[in-house]
């Protein structure tokens, strides 16, 4: 049910992925409604071979759909009373992705990118990327939604203006503030040194990622879903979602389309140590538009363009569009004990049961 199913990458790394979320409650929960974004997308450089979602207790109702952003989402409703809810997603994914490099990306001054998005008119990339040349049209995933009416009146309309419009709409949307990304003066001020006049957008992406990696400290538990970029800049510590939001905000503030990406990063054990089970993590990074290259993904937490150690779940305006799991529960009790474990291991090794 996904869109432009990519041909399976001929080469690449294949992973077994297990993501388990466990809620334990002191009081019985009569009903749990949930919605997941836990199934990796199919992309030109990523192929999801199999994906299952296991929910305990067994849900009375499940339904899969493709969301507004093209992500694969699953609804479930558990109607048996329970004190423990376990949501386990298992996938096998092949990733054949080479990290973008600053030198390999088209050189376009950031002001020109911003102007092109603002005006809706194309511009010539000064250096052609390896693959498809940018033709001034950005293909938007919204246009590929299965619910979209197709046919003579659909997005496939020969009228170029219509197709063009769709591309621009997605780019414009990626400029807007969103629930977790406010466009504030604090962020503008922080980002300003990176946006020197005429600087190429690829360089800026690398610079912002590098600055976040070096100027801010990763500390788990130092923020909550409600932490703003202003608070983050004041405390200088945060987690990957915070860093992604900060970079998205910096780009949008300067008229550059940016999205929030959700997924995983394969972690390596310290040299000489065995990898711990469940020690991988949900991860988040940034997807920014580079004319001629499309959406380019950068991980500010680790100061790098993403490669074949990253698995993409999906993307949205910010965290609120793609939390791996959200839900509503009915209970007299309050509080819960939440455990998350993620295993991303080469296929064939033994992941979490």
């Amino acid at each position: 049910m996904t869109t432009t199913a990519a041909t399976t990458p001929a080469t690449g790394r294949t992973y077994d992925l297990v993501h388990r979320t466990t809620y334990a409650y002191d009081h019985p929960v009569t009903t749990s409604y949930g919605r997941t974004v836990l199934t990796p997308r199919d992309l030109p450089d990523q192929r999801c071979h199999t994906s299952t979602l296991d929910i305990q207790p067994a849900p009375a109702d499940t339904a899969a759909h493709v969301d507004y952003f093209g992500n694969r989402s699953t609804y479930f409703a558990v109607t048996d009373e329970h004190r423990r809810l376990v949501v386990t997603s298992r996938s096998t994914v092949t990733v054949a992705r080479e990290a973008a490099t600053v030198t390999g990306l088209p050189v376009v001054a950031w002001e020109d990118v911003a102007a092109a998005v603002r005006s809706g008119r194309g511009l010539e990339p000064t250096a052609a990327p390896d693959e498809a040349e940018w033709d001034g049209v950005v293909h938007d995933d919204v246009a590929e939604l299965p619910t979209e009416p197709e046919g003579p009146d659909g997005p496939g309309d020969p009228s170029a203006a219509a197709t063009d419009g769709i591309g621009i709409v997605a780019l414009r949307e990626a400029l807007l503030p969103s629930r977790h990304v406010a466009l504030t003066e604090d962020v503008r001020e922080w980002a300003a040194p990176s946006f020197t006049p005429g600087r190429g957008i690829a360089e800026i992406l690398a610079d912002l990622a590098h600055r976040i990696r070096t100027e801010l400290t990763y500390r788990s538990g130092s923020t909550t879903v409600g932490t703003t970029q202003t608070q983050l800049l004041a405390q200088r510590t945060g987690v990957c979602q915070d860093f992604a939001h900060l970079m998205v905000a910096a780009l949008r503030l300067h008229g550059l389309p940016a999205r929030y990406a959700s997924g995983y990063l394969e972690t390596m054990p310290p040299p000489g140590r065995e990898k711990l089970r469940g020690a991988d993590a949900s991860h988040a990074w940034v997807s920014a538009w580079v004319p001629g290259a499309g959406w380019v993904e950068v991980d500010p937490t680790n100061d790098k363009f993403i490669d074949d150690r990253y698995v993409v779940l999906g993307w949205g305006r910010d965290y609120a569009d793609v939390p791996p799991l959200r839900g509503v529960i009915f209970t007299e009790g309050s509080g819960s004990r939440l455990t998350v474990s993620v295993d991303l291991v080469p296929a064939g090794s033994a992941p979490l049961p």
Binding site: A63, V239, P323
Partner: protein, 931 residues
Amino acid sequence: MTDLLSSVRAPAPDAPAPASPDEAGADRRPDWSWLPDTADAPTEADLARYRDATDRLLADHGVTYGGTPPVTADGAPTAGVAEPEPHSWRLDPVPVIVDEHEWSVLERALVQRTELLDAVLQDVYGPRRLLGDALLPPELVLAHPGYLRAVHGLRLPGAHELVLTATDVTRDASGAWTVVADRTQAPSGAGYAMEDRRVVAQVLAGVYRQASIQRIGPFFHALRLALAQVAPPGTESPRIVLLTAGPQSETAFDQAYLSSMLGLPLVEGSDLVVREGRVWMRGLDELEPVDVVLRRVDADFCDPLELRSDSRLGVPGLVRALRAGTVSVVNPLGSSVLENRALHAYLPRLARTVLGTDLALRSPETFWCGDPVALRHVLAHLDELVLAPTYRGLRSGTVHGWTLSAAERAELAARIAADPLSWVGQEPVATAGAGAGAGAGAGTAAEAVRRPGHPPAPTAAVLRTFAVARRGSYQVMSGGLARVFLDDADERPAGSDAAPDAGPRAYAKDVWVLSSEPDAVRDPWLHAEQPAQRVLTGISPRTAENMFWMGRYAERAGDKVRVLRAVVDRWDDYHRSPRSAGGRALAALLAAVGADEPASWRTEGTGTDLRALLLDRARPGSVASSVRRLAEASAAVRDQLSNDTWLPLASLDRALADERRLVAARDRLDAARQVSPRTGPAETVGMRAVLDRMLEALLAVAGIGAESMVRDLGWRFLDGGRRLERAQFLVDTLAATLTTQRSEDVDSLVLESLLIEHESVITYRRRNQAGATVATVLDLLLLDRTNPRSLGYQLDRLREDLAGVPVPVGPAGHVRSPETRDRLLQDVADLLTELDTATVAAAVTEDGRRDRLAEVLDSMRWRLRAVGDEIARVHFVHPAPSRSLDDAWGAENTHAPDADDAPGTDPSAAAAAEDGTRGADAVADDDRGPA
């Protein structure tokens, strides 16, 4: 008064031309020149009477505006002037008159506009071909909070997305209609429009009969058809509900009234549940499928799973059901994106592109600040424009630029510049006939002129029109809801955002569209194609609970009134002679009613205490508190009740309000004379009359229950509540009075009062010529199953009521089994059967206690209380409180496995705790919190 909206606006012949807006305001007279015979025009004196009659009818019908039921204000309004209550609906009976031809032009324009909006809505949630700088800037849609991505691509069956819309129009200085707001989400006011018509038709019966005006009834018929037609394909006879935000909603009356008029169950989010991919209504014992939801809940509150996670008004999974196509929500979630006022600037272009015609209805010149050119214009002309946010809920409302100081303007300019996408500037509407407008004069016109019997001078008026999808196009209500604003502080014409009434500074008018053919529109009830609609037969546990408590509070109020009446009589006779038999009987009765027995009756304020038992709403068990709870419970089940119910409820309020006013006036008088608050002798003066008045109204409530209601499930709970309450009242009062033996002369007075309280004194006298004894009184009040005031009778009826109520199925002893309920009732019945009244009456201990009677009554008492709890447990099952799953934000960055034991944060603990109070109420027998 002259109408700002009427077509016919000839000045009254004897009135000089107004010299200034103020004067115009002071001397507005209604124009009756359109009447076939102007000799029939009401005089000024008639109008004053009509206005009074209107206020009274609205109160009698329980018409309210605001989130709470009508409650008379505490304290005292100024003597003589009956200020309208803050929550009553205000209506001027003089209608707005619109000429037939003019209306037909407006009608066509409204249809065109609604078709255009519908097309835009379909596009922005579908192919989005209109989005583009040339036509409709993408940000105008994409940045609006009403644009809900969760429902992108979903469609209603049929040709339209918009089913029911409202358009607010006003007249500009040239007299042309101008649109000030589109209401496309869940428009309110159609119920008020119908109620206004009913009231005005009654008050102005003479004129109404003479006038040939178009009916608004057909609109509601069309609405029923339209709702049935958008049901999911394959639904033979759709089940339709009206989803309300509950009694706390500002337009709760409008919602309940509409549901009752359309015959749709009024449901709250918690009455609905999503299972197996579709929406169901919770019944008492099973779920019933729901096919169409007419919603009055804002879209983002409708599904906490997919939309606002903090909403407790919605139905988790609703969007899932929409995706499955098993339910239709009207208007669709996401339609409030059209309420963005910035759209006004782009509709003319869109009309030419989409419809190929020019837009017929204009709007005030609008500048959307998301456009850099428009932003510059707005910032440069702040002092001339009306500044408004593009959506409701932004902290600030609409602002008149010209009313701001330089500093305020600078502050506003900064806010707009920081968030230009969320602001529009609009040219003010120079309203026809009103002093309000841009610049000078706007402030002074706000000085409303008040004369007795005259509404203050209006400064602006808005007509809310309604349209409903019909046969591939739209049908416009032939009339509407006019609102007249008494000052423009809130700038309603440009900012008529939320509700159809701005509160006390506005009032409503009916709108009469003249018709050249009498009754040109056929009457739907006589001829109509009736929509095939399946009726939802069950009632929700919430409705059952409200009916039950309505019965209990009605009975509780009546019981207390009777007790007070009996005690006040004894008080008047005996409070001066505390040592007499009468005095001692009075002491016993006061103790039984919970009033303090004064140390010295001549000087202390026991009387005040009796009055507090009548008037003090804060005092549990007072008449006023029961009346209030009765009103609350009734308002929540308006769709179940006869329209006549509101008449006695209004009388109850009125009686209490009058008495409060009298007491307050007297207290003021005392204060002025510097005498101490009245005590003793005078204290109960006048109470008897009030109590009689209230009893009359409560008897009417009981009569409606007995004679005007179908014996359905709702009635069974209503009656059951009354029976249980009366049973408890009997046992409580007997225990409080008869378990102590007093001297014969004292006891005979106590017994007499007791019989009076229980409406059995006449029967008793007839049967017991010799005089009263405890045993024979017990016979009549406990055992006599033919006495509708006896305990035996209450038990029979309660068991009969409950026998007809379905219970949740399950194995014996399962969690909602009625076994305990029925066993307790059987126990009480057995106690009665075994009761030997002569023996228990005679069994007196040395210290003068009838201990065996006390024991039996106590056994009955706790069992009856437990029956109440059991009924709640079995039938009034509330879903547990809901909250969001704790967010995995922190946990997912925790690499170390030892994070497993980290306790989850619980942002919603406070909310859950609040909701959790319901559990406590379920067992508190005495009273309950608002359900």
